[in-house]
């Protein structure tokens, strides 16, 4: 019973290799042998901005073990968002103890364990797929996990002065050249950034810089500025690779749920 969350993930995650959906994705450039050409130029919308739309999977996953990959292989940032930071995350005093307490078995306070939402950071690192739908004025990120959407307003509106605290906060995006810069505030307190328990508080501001490097690759530079949890802002890069000829399937965490009775005392 070390990590209930991992157990749930292993039991319920949709196997990527067994997608039932194989309708060819429209508009994907192909090489002579019909394979998607992931290094073709990034597509653009009618206004000339890069089009971030597509079904995306985590890129730069750790190599598979010799006996093959399992279906729930996620990027290492799912376990530890600071995995690539040389000096780790700049915890304020008390945060190391908090994350240690969060990791104590049976770890029933992890939101995923209770099938609650994952925050906007884990939406990129979770083993399931995500889909970006870009339309004028609005960018949507759809996740398989709990079949949830996130809205990013790109119609020029400002951030609200008194946002309703939520799992996703309130997001506005603006283009800087070919980079979409998204600012988010208004988070609900107590969000986990990873399975390690790294916190995000209601004081957090998140900046995401989206860059579709080429047809098949999306880079998200993520800066977390959360003075209640960290002594200074920190930045990591998350990489996504296009998943072609497939689509999202339902992943309803509370479906066929068997853990609750063990968790409730």
């Amino acid at each position: 019973m070390k990590t209930v969350a991992t157990l749930i993930a292993a039991m319920l995650a949709v196997p990527l290799s067994a997608q039932w959906l194989n309708y060819p994705t429209r508009g994907v450039p192909r090489t002579a042998d019909g394979k998607p050409n992931l290094s073709a130029p990034a597509p653009r919308t009618a206004d000339g901005k890069p089009d971030l739309s597509g079904v995306w999977d985590g890129d730069h996953k750790p190599p598979c073990p010799p006996n093959g990959c399992d279906d729930t292989r996620s990027v290492r940032e799912f376990l530890d968002i600071g995995a690539t930071l040389k000096d780790g995350l700049p915890y304020r005093p008390g945060i190391a103890e908090l994350t240690k307490a969060r990791r104590q078995p049976p770890k029933t306070d992890e939101p995923i364990t209770r099938c609650l939402p994952i925050g906007i950071v884990e939406r990129y690192t979770h083993a399931t797929l995500r889909k970006i739908v870009q339309i004028p004025g609005l960018l949507l990120i759809l996740n398989e996990y709990n079949k949830m959407y996130r809205q990013i307003f790109t119609d020029g509106r400002p951030l609200p002065v008194d946002p309703l605290p939520g799992w996703d906060g309130y997001s506005v995006g603006k283009w800087e050249g070919d980079t979409l810069v998204v600012q988010t505030t208004g988070f609900r307190d107590g969000i986990w950034l990873d399975a390690f328990g790294d916190p995000m508080t209601d004081a957090a501001k998140i900046t995401e810089r989206f860059r579709r490097v080429d047809y098949g690759h999306l880079e998200i530079e993520l800066t977390v500025d959360d003075p209640k949890a960290y002594t200074k802002p920190w930045t990591v890069k998350l990489y996504q690779i296009l998943a072609v000829d497939t689509d999202l399937l339902d992943y309803i965490c509370a479906e066929n749920e068997k853990d609750i009775q063990h968790m409730v005392k």
Binding site: L138, L140, M148, Q151
Partner: protein, 263 residues
Amino acid sequence: MMSKAFGAIVILALAVPLAGQWLNYPTPGVPRTADGKPNLSASTPRMADRKPDLSGVWKLENPQQSQFLNIAPSVNGGLPFRPGVADLMKARNADPKTDEPITRCLPVGVVIRHTWPGEVKKIVQNPGLLLILNEYNKSYRQIFTDGRPQPTDPQPAWDGYSIGKWDGDTLVVETTGFRDGQWLDTEGAPLTDAAKIAERFRRLNFGHLEVDITVDDPKAYTKPWATKVNFILAADTDLLEFICLENEKDIKHMNAAVGAVAK
């Protein structure tokens, strides 16, 4: 402390009050009358391809509409149950009613996405794809409008697999591939894995949307039946989060109930 309908309690406790929306950013592109109010009888907006644009934040036109609680009265002639279905509904309604999907914060399915009374929903229309976003569990539904056929062997899902085609100014959406055991209302009217649902979306003018829903489910009903939902545009607001499992307090009582049944 068994209550009759956990589902209803959950809704009362968690539903987002429309009157208290925190979001008041003016919806771009809404035609207004001289006094600045949204002109809901202005003409239907259209996409670049001249098809109606169904996009917008919508709420039930008649908040007293009770299809969510009981869909049968809205159906001409009532629901044509097959033998055994009345008994199934009786069993579903027996205390403590913990099998209702909403009680366990599970998805609501495509019909209740329309009929849910206390929330707004948002339609996002994009060439090739229509999305319906609900506040309940912050969940989306996809309707593919890119000309693809129905899959021959869809993975059974709460929302099934939906494709839409334009018939003049009406978007006709056909859905199959449903997960078995769904509820169409809190009375427990069933939807089985044999069901086909057809929806006809018509945006009558800027502020009004009509959805005809036909349910053809030969495992539960002797013939297809239809109902209609009318929406009115909710301007200058947007979706708020409604996470059913947030601050969840019912589970331990439900487990006690399950234990009692097991004895």
